[in-house]
């Protein structure tokens, strides 16, 4: 009696009791579907948040002015402003070879009008390199140039939301808008990044730094310096070079540092860790329903063993060993569980096609594999007690059973 034949006879006896087998499978099916779907939603949430963090820029490191202690910082420490010269120094290929670009930014709250339409938003003043650093591509029109920046021309690139609010259906390229009383010519519209955990990333205007400083904010401290590491592998080196350059320029060391660094990679790591725990918890809750399904298998297999006591007796009388009987019932419970898992998988695939609360669930291959391995495990584990009972029946008593 080889494994394949035992498998076939397992399927046969499952088919012989369709309704009962179906109801038992339902437990496993729901459990498997729950595990895969909940993990897929966790993964979907993670993808969405990761996507919006990555939308901030590629290999982005941001420098802010001020001490880590904030207001409570030692009053004796003179906090130096972040300056355009700091940004220039960070672009030095000798001192900071792993930094591919650095751009200073200055932000202004503006309310803009174009024709009869108006819209309030934030305007970022920076250098042309900022487009690359912040992952901002134009979908229509073009970027401003270094000469626009040097001459402080009143030109701007606007996000999709701003374009929709100020120009409605019309093409904004070449049109004029007035922000806090200053007229700007629109050069381009940015590719949409969509809404995310960080608000609407399309609600922004990018303009030359000199223009923003001259007309809107005045020459004060910069808000940030946006720095791009040459690659994701060299983020750590880039950050080291960045601190070395700025520490030397500001004449500070680790303890007295008057600027702060925000590293996109480490944020991603932290967020992904938190989301990983969240997803694992979801999976664990779902796994409980799988456990309940498993108990259903034990229950139904016990009924089946009792019902088939006489059959087991006959089989033993004509020479079935304990091992053969054990295997027969184990295979039956495992096949039952596997078929349930298969339908659970189908259900999960159907359910995860639906987007819920803006999250597109993403099926994690490991959870599919895991669900199958676990359901085989459940079949074996929860089938082992009934199977053992069947195998250890004494033949004469089993034969006498009515």
């Amino acid at each position: 009696m080889n494994l394949f034949e035992s498998f076939r006879s397992g399927v046969q006896s499952i088919l012989a009791n369709r309704l009962r087998s179906g109801l038992t499978m339902l437990g496993i099916m729901i459990g498997v579907a729950a595990v895969i779907v909940l993990v897929a939603f966790g993964q979907g949430a993670s993808n969405s948040i990761t996507g919006s963090i990555e939308g901030l820029g590629t290999n982005l490191i941001t420098v802010f002015p001020g001490t880590a202690g904030g207001a409570q910082a030692d009053a004796n420490l003179a906090v130096k402003d972040l300056t355009v010269d700091d940004a220039v120094a960070l672009n030095d290929q000798v001192l900071a070879p792993d930094i591919s670009a650095a751009a200073p930014t200055k932000r202004a709250r503006v309310s803009c009008t174009a024709g009869t339409l108006s819209h309030s938003t934030a305007m970022v003043g920076s250098w042309p390199a900022y487009f690359e650093i912040s992952n901002s591509e134009v979908s229509e029109g073009g970027y401003f140039t270094n000469s626009d920046e040097l001459d402080g021309r009143r030109v701007a690139v606007i996000g999709k939301t701003v374009a929709d609010n100020l120009f409605d259906e019309a093409d904004p390229i070449g049109k004029e808008m007035t922000c806090n009383g200053v007229p700007f010519t629109v050069l381009g519209v940015l590719v949409s990044k969509g809404a995310s955990g960080f608000g609407d990333q399309d609600d922004t205007i990018i303009a030359p730094l000199t223009t923003v400083r001259n007309h809107l904010t005045g020459i004060g401290s910069l808000d940030t310096i946006a720095v791009q590491a040459a690659s994701s592998q060299t983020q750590a080196q880039a950050q080291e070079q960045l601190t070395a350059v700025l520490d030397a320029r500001h004449d500070v060391e680790a303890a007295t540092r008057d600027y702060q660094i925000f590293n996109q990679a480490s944020l991603l790591t932290t967020v992904n860790q938190a989301l990983g725990i969240f997803t694992a918890l979801l999976g664990a809750v779902a796994a409980i329903s799988l456990l309940v399904g498993g108990i259903g298998i034990t229950n139904i297999m016990l009924v089946s063993v009792t019902e088939r006591t006489r059959e087991i007796g006959i089989r033993k009388a004509i020479g079935a060993s304990r091992r053969v009987i054990l295997l027969q019932f184990l295979i039956e419970s495992t096949v039952l569980s596997l078929i349930g898992a298969f339908f659970g998988l189908v259900l999960a695939f159907l359910v995860t096609r639906v987007e819920v609360a803006g999250i597109q669930p993403a099926i994690v291959p490991a959870s599919v594999l895991g669900a199958f391995v676990i359901s085989v495990g459940i079949g074996l584990f929860f089938g082992s007690y009934p199977a053992n009972r069947a195998a250890s029946l004494r033949p004469i008593e089993a034969l006498r059973h009515e």
Binding site: Q12, A16, I314, R315, G319
Partner: protein, 228 residues
Amino acid sequence: MTPVLDLVDVTKVYGDGDAVVRALDGVSLTVNTGDYLAIMGASGSGKSTLMNIIGALDIATAGQYHLDGIDINTLDEDALSIVRNRKIGFIFQSFNLIPRTTALANVELPLAYRGVKRGERRDRAKAALTAVGLSDRMHHRPNELSGGQQQRVAVARALVAQPSLLLADEPTGNLDSRATADVLKLLDQMHDEGRTIVMITHENDVAQHADRVIVLKDGRIDEDRLNR
């Protein structure tokens, strides 16, 4: 030549204390190859108990039992299942076919447990079913067969593995006279081919088919006679 069955002073006791029942009380019996033995006796005289011990389904409380020279009392459950598979073919009063399983699959089963390959198994099972006159009923399930046909399937299943001993417990107990005649004819045929048969029966005319009849009474052999 070693006898097929060799029982010496076999005793089976059920229960303990006041409720103790000596179902078998010192049975000694030898059956040689080719013998056809009928066991008779009143209800409760110990026939089925003796059959269970002979069939290696149960172990005697005391005494010696050798089947084909093998000391059955010393074997464990797994070894007993091998002995049942290789040495014994069972025919029961209530047929005891596996439900929802075709006649062919039922007859194949002892060979499957022995590890015979599928193709050979199939051929041998078909031959056995043909021998009992059921070549046109191979793919029927037990609930699609008459009692007599079911018992013939059971005979085919008992024969297919070529056991040393055919053991039948009231094989005609649930059959009408036609079917009884069919089954007895099959057993006679097996006997003519040299098989060893032990059969329990209540009926004298069934016992007439055997060469030798023993009668049990209160767990002892009361009478041991040769027919004809």
